[in-house]
């Protein structure tokens, strides 16, 4: 990414519009406390809660990586599960066929996803807005169908199940700390990307693409870079899924799975970095709770989503910034 000297005005304008929420120091301290509390999880949480957290931490990375496109790049992708699935399959396939060390497979997984993202992005980014969304969806389905059909290589619809992680990681607490550690580092890296010159220029491509183009910014190049980076972290999230559940199967690549991080971002708020992370926690916990307690979980989930979409346009984080809904009585 070449940061052209001509661009600071755009970047500057946008950076001034950044989150005007809590004071950064307060925020950082608060987050540190939350991370410490999570790290101490095994001391006070039950086993099922810990496992739930393992899943959600991976999903939080998945959502934040997707939101790099969604909230920062203005690119609605319904195909990020492609890369999530590739991350998980990289570990599972290695275990089944190649038997290379786990750590090698784990490190390679995000790169494999990024490579796939490069080729998908090269084609999909030619299309605009809705067509882009539907094209990424088509790629997602293509990978899904292939994973389901290449029976001997991928295990078909059943997927791959087995002891694909080292015994040390299979110890519940170790697995938890490992996932927590990787997720926190990944989120920090993603955050770094969003506040880097690249991240600011990416926002410029979202907010005023013509202006960015006229200032000599290579919009396509930036979007492709964002797509590859997002693919990388989605792949990492997928690899974390494989650590959590020790399996990979075609549904991980499905467009329905691609919808999850989008939903999480919208619920949490796609215009703040933490929105998708918060969204991941809320969406997954709510979904688990509803599935476990009622047959009508789809109905309730649908209604809850509607309420959030219709009455909290910037998601829960946005709502928090603008003031509580029952205090202000609508934002219009």
């Amino acid at each position: 990414m070449a940061a052209q000297p001509a661009l600071p005005p755009v970047a500057d304008q946008i950076s001034r519009k950044r989150d005007q929420g809590l004071h950064p120091a307060v925020l950082a301290a608060g987050l540190a406390v939350i991370v410490l509390m999570l790290a101490a999880g095994p001391d006070y949480l039950g086993q099922s809660a810990l496992l739930e957290l393992e899943l959600i931490l991976g999903l939080a990375v998945f959502a934040a990586a997707t939101n790099l496109l969604l909230g920062y790049g203005g690119l609605v992708s319904f195909g990020q599960a492609t890369f999530y699935g590739i991350g998980a399959y990289a570990i599972a396939l290695n275990w089944m066929h190649w038997k290379l060390p786990f750590w090698l497979a784990f490190s390679a997984a995000p790169f494999a996803a990024a490579l796939a993202a490069f080729f998908v992005g090269l084609i999909a980014l030619r299309a605009r807005k809705l067509y882009f969304a539907l094209l990424t969806l088509a790629f997602s389905q293509l990978f899904y169908v292939v994973a389901e059909q290449q029976y001997h290589f991928t295990g078909g619809a059943n997927g791959i199940f087995g002891k694909m992680i080292p015994p040390a990681l299979a110890v519940p607490q170790n697995g938890y700390w490992f996932i927590l550690g990787v997720a926190v580092v990944a989120l920090l890296a993603l955050w770094k990307i969003t506040v880097s010159p690249f991240g600011l220029l990416l926002r410029a491509t979202r907010e005023r693409p013509e202006r960015a183009e006229s200032l000599g910014l290579n919009v396509f190049g930036h979007q492709l870079m964002a797509f590859v980076l997002s693919g990388f972290f989605c792949g990492l999230a997928g690899a974390l899924y494989a650590v959590y559940n020790q399996n990979a199967y075609p549904e991980l690549l499905d467009w329905v799975k691609s919808g999850d991080p989008v939903m999480m971002s919208v619920i949490g708020g796609m215009y703040s970095f933490l929105g998708p992370v918060v969204g991941a926690f809320i969406y997954e916990i709510a979904r688990q709770f509803l599935v476990g307690t009622t047959r009508d979980w789809q109905l309730i989930l649908g209604v809850v989503l509607l309420v959030i979409i219709l009455f909290m346009p910037d998601g829960l984080i946005g709502q928090f910034k603008h003031g509580l809904p029952w205090r202000k009585g609508g934002r219009k």
Binding site: G46, Q47, S48, L51, E52, L55, V145, E148, Q149, Y151, G156, A157, N158, G159, F161, N245, Q246, N247, Y249, E251, Q288, V291, G292, R295, W297, Q298
Partner: protein
């Protein structure tokens, strides 16, 4: 320590009570309850399979509770939708065990979800009973000692159909086409079917093999390809709604005038097709209540019909059987402990509504047979759908894989 002394005292008094009169012990324990979990497809295209299975398990629990419960405890059934997703199914199982303290899990519909759930159940040493999904891998490559399968597996079922066909055609040369969902169930089934035909000495040629995707809504192009192949017999591996769709569309082509279809026409498909199932078609079902003899079966189907206003599907019959299996395992082990129940059931013979079932010690596969028959021309007035004109129970001993084969594939440890 004070605490452990109290526990020892408690255990001692319990043991005393147990050693005392049985009636006393039973009434003392009856105050408690115990939970079993079922997570299966309750929404989506094959929700019917999950729904009827769940209903039967709830009925079985109610029946057991009416008789004083299992090991004196009332049984509570918790259920959750797996939404056909392995991840959701696995999480549900974990939550049942860790949060609801479920002592047994009853199985899902699709094999992908079953494989995921099997792993979780084993991790927490909780027995899991498969009554709908029947992937042979569950008892071989993915075998754990906590799994029990009370349904004919993906080898047994097509082998039974092959045996039936072998008896029907004798030495005559026949041509065959297959159409199965592009899904592990479909693949395994058709492969086993052809292998079994060969083993049974049938002289056949395969003319066409089609694999439309699961849940397809348009089969015309596949049917056109099948028609071009002119097979004597067409083996159709579709199940649930897919089979209804395929039958309707093939019917329109007059396809069944030229070929004899073979398919898993169960209660739901027979009912949905309302008398339009081609008469004489070779049909099979894992537990067709109308073809199964015995007073237990009759009582069950009447009770099920009275409660849910529909006749039980095979999934319901087997769901009930699965519950019976678990309950008797607990009684035999005299414990809800997973290891003990597993040990008690391994190699045991269970009395069920469908007759005695022996769970082989080597792979925990029940010796359940498959019912194969031909579709009657007329609708059965009592049930409102076509049943079988002739049917045969192909016994398990004729079709089950030998322990030598299955154990060879089981994980070693």
């Amino acid at each position: 320590m004070d605490h452990s002394r109290k526990m020892i005292a408690g255990l001692g008094s319990l043991a005393l009570a147990a050693a005392g009169t049985v009636a006393f012990a039973t009434s003392a324990l009856a105050s408690g309850s115990v939970t079993v979990g079922i997570t299966t497809a309750l929404s989506g295209p094959i929700a019917e399979l999950g729904q009827t299975g769940l209903q039967a398990i709830e009925l079985a629990a109610a029946d057991a509770n009416a008789k004083g419960g299992v090991l004196g405890k009332q049984v509570k059934v918790v259920s959750a939708d797996s939404n056909l997703s392995p991840a959701t199914g696995a999480t549900n199982v974990r939550n049942f065990i860790l949060d609801n303290h479920a002592v047994a899990i009853f199985g899902p519909v699709s094999s992908a979800v079953a494989v995921a759930e099997e792993g979780v159940a084993a991790k927490y040493k909780t027995p899991i009973f498969f009554s709908t999904s029947n992937d042979v891998k569950l008892a071989t490559t993915n075998y754990t000692k906590y799994m029990f399968q009370v349904v004919p597996d993906t080898h047994m079922e097509p082998a039974a159909v092959a045996r039936y066909l072998a008896d029907a055609v004798g030495k005559k040369h026949i041509t065959i086409a297959t159409i199965t969902p592009d899904y592990s169930f479909g693949r395994d089934t058709v492969a086993s079917f052809l292998k079994s035909l060969k083993a049974d000495g049938v002289n056949y040629t395969v003319k066409a093999q089609e694999t439309p995707k699961l849940g397809a809504s348009q089969y015309t192009s596949y049917i056109a390809a099948l028609i071009a192949a002119h097979p004597d017999y067409t083996f159709m591996g579709q199940f649930g709604g897919d089979l209804v769709t395929l039958t309707k569309q093939a019917e329109g082509f007059g396809f069944f005038k030229h070929t004899k279809p073979m398919a898993m026409y169960g209660r739901a498909q027979l009912k949905a097709l309302k008398g339009k199932v081609p008469a004489g078609a070779i049909a099979w079902d894992r537990a067709p209540f109308w073809a199964m003899k015995g007073p237990g079966m009759e009582k069950f189907s009447e009770a099920y019909n009275a409660k849910y206003h529909e006749w039980p599907s095979a999934w319901a019959v087997m769901g009930y059987t699965a519950f019976e299996t678990w309950a008797q395992g607990v009684e035999k082990a005299h414990s809800f402990n997973g290891d003990k129940v597993s040990a008690a059931l391994s190699g045991a013979t269970i009395k069920t509504i469908r007759g005695p079932i022996t769970l082989r010690a080597c792979d925990h596969q029940g010796d359940v047979g498959e019912y194969v028959g031909t579709i009657a021309a007329k609708v059965n007035p009592k049930y409102g759908f076509q049943t079988y004109a002739h049917s045969k129970l192909i016994p398990a001993k004729d079709i089950i894989l030998s322990c030598k084969i299955t154990t060879a594939e089981q994980p070693k440890s």
